[in-house]
Symmetry: C2
Subunit: 342 residues, 2 copies
DNA sequence: CTGAAAGCGCTTACAG
DNA sequence: CTGAAAGCGCTTACAG
């Protein structure tokens, strides 16, 4: 009834546990005869080595953990993260490694770090505050931070958000728009965009620089923050539409909120891009299907996941150094931004 | 440099490892003073209990494994599986449990079963052959099979595929179509639909029954099998279009291939539903966005994941019996099937 | 080629 | 309230 152990097999095959272990892990170290006998006994008992016990001995789990900033149920629906995970999986599939999806625990990612039986972590969108880094470091496991501010001595993979955001805003400004609404992302410090960190800070910075090139500043645009979901984008647009003068262009910090804005605009009979332009960020697959197709900033999300995972795998293998990788972004002009003659 | 162990903390705090363990797991079992001292020592050393060692002692990993039938990289992009995983995550999130995504190992799911450090498995789309069941059983871990044929003594969760498929085909027949192409799914036994098992068999069965009610049989329809992807659907449609007479209706065994067929039809200037009708299966979110919106069979995929995960969690907790659950399906009529007057 | 023994880092009755 | 000791099921030098 109970699960058979290596000792059971050894007894049944009339050999030592050592030999059974060898039979499974280094078949060349036992004679062909005993190998056969052991395998037969194992098959008969339905034995296979316990993965936990094996990890205990070897010190390896053969698993990498992906620390995500939201509950797993919402993460799975987030196209950006799916895209990222696909890249991660491309790297792990080649070694047949499973992926442990780890969401917040009691509301905090930090708590989740301790209980995960993995060989290393990929973090995404973590705020690189000291305590967090400390916790991660305490685990004495290699990790790669994605979408955070680069931290000295820690492997980081990021997109060139500043350049991308700059391009997006410059595109809208070049089209003649001067009444602009930014669809921001609700951060831990709501409304205080001056204190944004990581990805948000870099994107905001790119927007600001583009505005300055046109003699404008953050005070000359409407900023509203919303949750990263279609619904969030809808609500955000509603708030922006109440401003006077009403924005002629919406610059969204993520595609999913941009798509929400598009839906809300359609429901209200506001023609995009005729009456209002919209530009997003990320270039998730859905942007190609939207009506109109969304102009946005592409950031090779899948490649980002693949690179980050490879870096982590190298780190785990003991090679590689904690590099900082910056991936290119580029504006993809589709149909949602129109020239405004004024 | 090395990761501190419970012994290090004990030494540093001047207590026994037992007390350190209690401090972390059952704080009420140590005096307030020693608790403080231990926690301080642990914090100073940056100690936290090793999850693998803990699992070794307790016999629990606190993780559930999801066995998926395809490489993880493709699974993440499969809307049906994403939907299912979202349901699973809803159940695990409430207990802050991580999810281990396990893909095939050396091409076979069976191999992957052995190395996963989990408390139980959720399998999806596994062919319920003896050897597989045997392997799963040998692991001595609870598991629930989703999208397979119900197996006596094993927890199973399925949709009522037969009824759903029947409705889909009947809908097309009622609309007057008599030249029908079935966009099948490439199975391990290509072309031998008579020997399909599990989900595929049930859906095929539903189609067949509907046809029989109209005095038709499987020989009166064109069947082509394709891979479960948009590209697969495109290629499948190409093959069906070469048949004479050309099908006026396409019955797809999955939405994603139906969507591919829709794209291919548009590229070829074939109007749907004017010139050709299409019906899918699954009701993935994308069906609402397609042009035209896809008529399909809804099967509450998210609920399926949630139920399966809850069942597994109950099984792990020692409660519950290995029930067989059958979820309702229902035809969702949208825009892709048109009445054909003949 | 084979095996006895130590060790991986915890938890948990059990005894004091 | 505290601790010595056994045990979880493997792997791996090391010795024969």
């Amino acid at each position: 009834m109970k699960r058979p152990t290596i000792a059971d097999v050894a007894r049944s095959a009339g050999v030592s546990p050592t030999s059974v272990s060898f039979a499974f892990n280094r078949p060349d170290r036992v004679s062909e005869q005993t190998l056969e006998r052991i395998l037969a006994a194992a098959a008969e008992l339905g034995y296979s080595p316990d993965p936990v016990a094996r990890s205990m001995s070897t010190g390896r789990t053969g698993t990498i953990g992906v620390l995500v900033p939201q509950p797993l149920a919402t993460v799975v629906h987030n196209p950006y993260i799916s895209e990222f995970l696909a890249g991660v999986a491309e790297a792990t599939d080649s070694q047949d490694l499973p992926i442990l999806l780890v969401g917040p625990r009691q509301g905090s990612i930090e708590h989740a770090v301790f209980d995960a039986a993995v060989d290393g972590f990929l973090t995404i969108g973590l705020e690189p505050f000291r305590p967090t880094i400390q916790l991660l470091t305490n685990r004495r496991l290699p990790y790669v931070m994605v979408d955070s501010d680069p931290v000295e001595g820690v492997a980081c993979v990021n997109a060139d958000d500043t350049t991308g955001a700059h391009e997006a805003m410059a595109h809208v400004l070049a089209a003649g728009h001067r009444t602009i609404g930014i669809l921001g992302i609700r951060s831990p410090r709501p409304g205080r965009w001056e204190r944004y960190v990581g990805t948000l800070a870099r994107r905001m910075d790119g927007y600001r620089r583009a505005l300055e090139e046109y003699g404008m500043g953050m005070n000359d645009v409407h900023l509203t923050e919303c949750t990263v979901s279609e619904e969030g984008g809808r609500r955000g647009l509603k708030r922006l539409l109440e401003k006077t003068p009403r924005p002629t262009a919406i610059v969204a910090m993520s595609d999913i909120t941009a798509l929400g804005a598009l839906s809300e605009a359609r429901d209200r009979g506001i023609h995009v891009p005729g009456e209002m332009s919209v530009v997003g960020f990320d270039d998730i697959p859905e942007t190609r299907w939207s009506q109109p197709a969304l102009t946005t900033v592409s950031q090779a999300t899948e490649a980002k996941g693949r690179l980050a995972a490879r870096l982590l795998l190298d780190l785990i293998a003991g090679g590689a150094s904690p590099d900082h990788i910056l991936l290119e972004t580029r504006l993809v002009v589709r149909e949602s931004v129109d020239t405004r003659s004024r």
